[in-house]
């Protein structure tokens, strides 16, 4: 294990690296043996269905929780964050599903919340209003009025406020928690565009989603979670979109279900046949080993930097 870790050091120091991290809440194991890393100019996607442990993982990286097992390093240095503020100070910004905006407050107050610009003891309001308008314009959103409560914006617009806010305040690592979950096709495309933009600007992005079609085009690495465990960690050239989709759908489980239905006979057998076909199409081999290059935890891929 140590040898593979050393081997891995060739990417000088990834911005964020988790090694065999786990989290227990009392007797409940929410997450175990998770390894993940993200470097500057990279997008690491975390895929998983509901309850897979994505939220717990974000909370650990964002500094809301500390891992109960394993290590968490930022730029090669082991850290133990006590609050999101400490993570923020190290350049790790999180855009939550609920976006961490206060609906009743004006857009500009939300944009600068926690990072207010002061001039001689009081806030520099004209500056903050102008900057908010500018930054939103740079993201392609022409705000009518920065004084409008942020609750009156559309979901995509709010997402953009949250992302541009994190970028503006010098985030090095951007954690995006299901940014496309509540959005339509077009707005999802817009958000994916911002993810690429952030990557081009040299940020590391951790993109959490349950949609492989959103993850595949933008991701450089993919971590798949199921029931709190890693079921695969790939580089882009090690996996195809279909394999990713198959793994997400729980290839093994689908197959088991197919057998079960087959044994039931009758109409269920037809369904079983269809399912079996689908499993085949998704590029999943029969049997227990799920897909090519299932690399669990300790030896993350290191072919590209």
């Amino acid at each position: 294990m140590t040898s593979t870790l050393e081997n891995d050091q060739k990417i000088a120091n990834p911005l964020v690296r988790l090694t065999n991290a786990g989290k227990r809440y009392g007797t409940i194991i929410a997450l175990s043996e998770i390894s993940l890393e993200v470097s500057a100019g990279e997008v690491t996607c975390v895929l998983g269905d509901n309850g897979a442990g994505k939220s717990t993982l974000i909370k650990i990286i964002a500094g809301l929780h500390q891992p109960t097992e394993g290590t968490y390093e930022v730029e090669g240095e082991a850290v133990a964050f006590n609050s999101p503020r400490e993570a923020l100070e190290r350049g790790i910004a999180t855009v939550y599903q609920d976006l961490a905006v206060v609906p009743l407050m004006p857009v500009w107050r939300n944009f600068f919340l926690g990072n207010e610009v002061s001039k001689g003891g009081r806030m520099d309001i004209p500056f903050m209003r102008t900057k908010t308008k500018e930054e939103m314009l740079a993201m392609g959103i022409d705000l009518r009025d920065v004084e409008q409560p942020i609750g009156t914006l559309s979901g995509g617009e709010r997402q953009c406020v949250a992302i541009s806010r994190a970028v503006y305040f010098g985030a090095k690592v951007l954690i995006l928690d299901e940014p496309t979950a509540a959005l339509g096709v077009k707005q999802s495309g817009v958000v994916l565009k911002y993810i690429i933009q952030a990557r081009e600007r040299g940020l590391g992005v951790i993109f959490i989603t349950h949609n492989p079609h959103h993850a595949y085009p933008v991701g450089d690495r993919f971590l798949l979670l199921n029931r709190g465990r890693s079921i695969g960690y790939y580089e882009k050239n090690q996996v195809t979109r279909d394999e990713l989709t198959g793994l997400m759908a729980g290839g093994g489980e689908l197959e088991a279900l197919s057998h079960e239905l087959e044994n039931a006979g009758g109409a269920a057998a037809d369904v079983a046949a269809a399912l079996g076909e689908e499993v085949g199409e998704l590029g999943l081999t029969h049997g227990t080993d799920r897909a090519p290059n299932v690399t669990n935890n300790s030896n993350p891929p290191s072919t590209t930097a």
Partner: protein, 350 residues
Amino acid sequence: MTDTIEAAPPPRLDERVQRKSPLARLFARPEAGALAGAIIIYVFFFAIAPPFRNANSFSSVLYVSSTYGLMAAPVALLMIGGEFDLSAGVAVTSSALCCSLFSFEFTANMWVGVLVALVLSLFIGFINGWVVVKTGIPSFLVTLGTFFMLQGLNLALTQTITNGAASPSISDIQGFDSAQKVFSSSFTVGGVNIRTSIVYWIVITLIATWLLLRTRTGNWIFSVGGSAQSARAVGVPVGRMKILLFMGVGLLAWFTGMIILFQFNTIQSGQGVGNEFVYIIAAVVGGCLLTGGYGSAVGAGIGALIFGMVNQGIVYAGWDPDWFTFFVGALLLGAILLNTYIRRRAEANR
């Protein structure tokens, strides 16, 4: 609004935004309903109660308003921050009793009692806030508890120490005169007697408004009340803000207690019960949302003024003062309906 946009391309007006008239902009503010109500009530009593037109009696309307308004401002900030303080009314009495009894019993300088009372008031605020933040129990319940505890302490300790229901007269203790000058004096402008507490009320309201709208602290107050979780996620110290807001109520409870104590030089131990609702009503009439995250300190000041006008206006009009609470309740309901209506309109107009 548009002047903040840099004049890079010719400053165009967004075609999606209708130019709002100054009146419409005024009505989008949280204190709009209270202002309209205050004007109506002023005109009403001006018309039916002749003494109301006299400058000196209006000055006493303002004095009554100020004793409520001084507390309404911090209570409004606390409500915007998403919390209640039901102990605020008796806390004023606790502070005054503490100052009076401490100075009297230990025959110390008056100012020592004043400082001890300040420490006590800040401590009460801190405890309220700390318990709310640490336990997550709704502040309504926590401060309901401290409300009854303080009420009991006020009565019991006063009874034990003085064998009576009121604090002893303190006017001959050293330092009384200077303290009275600071907390509770008056001056005359153009033949009208004006108590200093009116000035303090206006100053405190302006400071609270400035704090709320122009400083980082104000931004944080709105955010902890609007969505504590979001505020925490962007690094706002939610717990500390809430404790500070409770301590702000404590600070003004002390100040108000001193003003009342040094005006009458004695204080009834049962006083102040029910005033917590007056403060909350003033804040709500002034546009504060019960759920937090929205409101105005100026609005709370106007709410206190409405309260003072009705309180004195009923007397000036020669009505039975028993009607007072009925009017207060009606005012509260009316204000809530009006505020809800105005806010809906304001949001729809955006």
